[in-house]
């Protein structure tokens, strides 16, 4: 449902409005039920007697926003006081979770999506110890709150991973062992393929996970990991790509697979609406082409997480360029590393990328 999301302070009674007129007590000339009203919590009954069924069919991407910046660690990691799991509610049925980078430097993102019949957790963080990283506790709390608002007694949860071998995205699995009403995708390659129904059609086929009127597409995308998967959410129009494509230093595991996966991803993005590509990490700074080194737990100048879908084509173009060569290649929004050290640096700065020196933090 299209809606005008533009915030106009002068109409909302903000006395700091740039216009001379302000409405500190509200503007009585405005209609009471403005377009945005329909998409707030007020649509959900306060004490639902029966399960609330949400209509996930929407014109264009579902509304939502990433309204805050991500926690960025601290100069002295031992003194960090940020939440261990940062939860960003994108909309009522989509949550973005991030691990505190002072718990683990990879600071991976975890996505929690709800449908009418269940919930899906994509990836699960880099720490198994719930005292360090209480992912299970956080997910349980979000699920319980969501279930209460929607009048559900049970919300089946499915755990999938963009890669079963990636230590930065699978360590949290241990916390979910034995959780009732929970299905966990197996991590070995063949078992994972069987779980997703991709046995025999890897890597060209696709499959789907039905969350209840919200059908998540599963796309095999090996390349950075041999068991790489991407997920497509047709409600938010997000493509979750894990380590395959994210704003950071992309270590290529196999360049042939990497190019082929990006080709398939591009074909998919051409055929389906994609609002953002959502990766598993952020390494880049907010200046083009520069990234934080590994193990850094203070990154005050991070790039934003979301990537425009046009970056798939750019990644594909430059993936073809590095194919068959041991090379580090810098682009404004990502860096490709093929066959070199994860710490590799280069003196070759591409001519079309502006070289801006970021401010130096304390």
């Amino acid at each position: 449902m299209p809606q005008n999301q533009t915030y106009r302070p002068e109409l909302s009674g903000n006395p700091q409005s740039s216009t001379s007129r302000s409405y500190p007590n509200g503007n009585p000339e405005l209609q009471y039920n403005r377009p945005g009203v329909r998409n707030t919590d007020s649509a959900v009954p306060l004490h639902p007697a029966a399960p609330v069924i949400h209509d996930y069919a929407s014109d264009g991407p579902a509304p939502g926003n990433i309204a805050f910046r991500w926690a960025y660690g601290s100069n002295v990691a031992a003194k960090n006081t940020d939440p261990r799991v940062q939860v960003m509610q994108y909309n009522e049925d989509s949550f973005i979770l991030r691990q505190n980078m002072c718990v683990h430097w990879e600071a991976p993102f975890t996505y929690l999506l709800f449908g009418n019949k269940g919930a899906l957790l994509i990836d699960n963080g880099a720490s198994a110890n719930p005292a360090h990283y209480p992912l299970r506790e956080t997910v349980d709390a979000i699920v319980a709150r969501w279930a209460k608002a929607r009048g559900r007694t049970r919300v089946p949860l499915t755990l999938v991973m963009t890669s079963g071998e990636d230590h930065a995205q699978t360590k949290g699995l241990a916390q979910f062992a034995g959780r009732p009403d929970t299905t966990i995708a197996p991590t070995p390659l063949a078992a994972m393929q069987e779980f997703h129904g991709l046995l025999g059609k890897w890597p060209t086929g696709t499959s789907s996970i039905d969350l209840g009127d919200r059908v998540i597409q599963v796309i095999p995308t090996p390349g950075t990991h041999k068991d790489g998967l991407s997920f497509y959410d047709p409600y938010c129009d997000f493509l979750f790509t894990g380590d395959l494509l994210f704003p950071g230093k992309i270590n290529i595991g196999n360049d042939r697979d990497f190019v082929a996966s990006l080709e398939r991803l591009k074909a998919f993005a051409d055929a389906n609406p994609v609002k953002y590509v959502m990766g598993g990490h952020i390494d880049m700074m907010f200046v083009p082409g520069q990234a934080y080194p590994r193990f850094r737990n203070y990154r005050p100048y991070e790039r934003v997480l979301e990537m425009e879908p046009s970056l798939i084509a750019e990644a594909l173009q430059y993936a073809r360029e590095v194919q068959g060569r041991d090379l580090m290649l810098i682009r404004p929004d990502f860096i490709l590393l093929n066959g070199v050290s994860p710490d590799q640096r280069t003196n070759v700065w591409p001519a079309d990328v502006p070289q801006i020196r970021p401010p130096h933090p304390f």
Partner: protein, 333 residues
């Protein structure tokens, strides 16, 4: 103090220049019973079985910001916490009858982030109490091994400390602080009050670097040009010459331990990648003279830039900031 005065007043030229200097020297008299730093050498001492080594989750680290280890009664060795700075440098604190020498200040600048000043003050107070000294009469020399921020970042924490001299952050000030006129060959002697420290130039990792030899414990402190980890050699020829100087020194002087500023290698010779904050199996910081000699023998065979493992250290000959020996672990064919 202008530059000329600063150089004239350096620690080695301990000649009182004025009446104030004489009064100052007299004020030292009666500062506790003198400690004998010249008999029964080398003074016995021990390194800990393991240092603080960071933690799996940095924000759950409960170690102190600096570990203070008493090597013996008159020698403390400090190590910075990996959860405060991944560089986690080591910093010896040598006590003499008149002066205290602090070598290296770690990689956190601000006192409210990491209070090195408070820790050093407390350590000095502890030593003074034990040895019946007056901490206000002990002069503190704040120096560093070489001109890199992970070794001098906290130097400003000592700026207003009374009875303290600290090294300046230029090559000229560093060399001038030790009163050298012929860097790096010249070997100067610093008297901490009965305890002699020998200092000479050791360029190669950076231009501005010193080697420090404590005649009491006979520990040879080699900074970042030779330590258990990746010796980033920016300039091969000067580094090789510095190694030759170290070998010449150990040929003529007794040395108990060779000690560097960092540890970046495990007990099983595994390379801990740059920036790692958790090193549960790290190798000891101290090395033997034989390891130094072996490394020098190995270095004689090195003719090209690259990364070489000598059995003790990684020689990163002019590869700094360009590559490491790490591989992407998920590569497949």
């Amino acid at each position: 103090m202008d530059r000329r005065m600063f150089l004239a007043c350096n620690a080695v030229a301990a000649i009182p220049l004025s009446g104030a200097g004489v009064a100052y020297a007299q004020s030292r008299a009666g500062n506790g019973p003198p400690i004998d730093f010249t008999s029964n050498l080398p003074a016995a001492g021990s390194f800990p079985d393991r240092w603080i080594f960071g933690s799996e989750s940095c924000m759950d680290n409960t170690d102190p910001p600096w570990q203070v280890h008493w090597y013996n009664d008159h020698t403390a060795i400090l190590r910075q916490n990996k959860a405060y700075s991944y560089e986690a440098p080591f910093a010896p604190l040598y006590f003499g009858n008149d002066r205290i020498l602090l070598l290296d200040e770690g990689f956190v600048q601000l006192r409210n982030d990491c209070d090195l000043r408070g820790i050093v003050d407390a350590t000095i107070d502890e030593w003074c109490e034990r040895n019946d000294k007056n901490p206000e009469r002990m002069e503190l020399l704040v120096a560093f091994s070489h001109l890199h921020a992970d070794h001098y970042a906290a130097v400003n924490q000592f700026a207003e400390r009374p009875n303290t001299r600290y090294m300046g952050l230029t090559h000229e000030e560093m060399v001038g602080f030790w009163g050298m006129t012929n860097f790096p060959e010249e070997r100067v002697s610093l008297d901490l009050g009965g305890r002699e420290i020998l200092i000479w130039g050791s360029p190669g990792h950076v231009v501005s670097e010193f080697a420090y030899y404590d005649s009491y414990t006979q520990i040879l402190y080699t900074g970042d040009m030779f330590y258990r980890g990746r010796c980033y050699i920016s300039f091969w020829e000067p580094w090789f010459d510095s190694m030759q100087r170290l070998i010449d020194f150990v040929d003529t002087h007794p040395v108990t331990h060779v000690m560097g500023c960092h540890v970046e290698i495990s007990k099983d010779d595994e390379d801990y990648p740059y920036g790692l904050t958790y090193q549960p199996n790290e190798a000891p910081v101290q090395m033997t003279v034989q390891q130094l000699r072996d490394t020098f023998e190995f270095a004689k065979t090195v003719t090209e830039p690259g990364i070489y493992f000598t059995g003790t250290v990684f020689l990163c000959n002019q590869t700094r900031s360009m590559t490491t020996i790490d591989k992407y672990p998920y590569r497949y064919s």
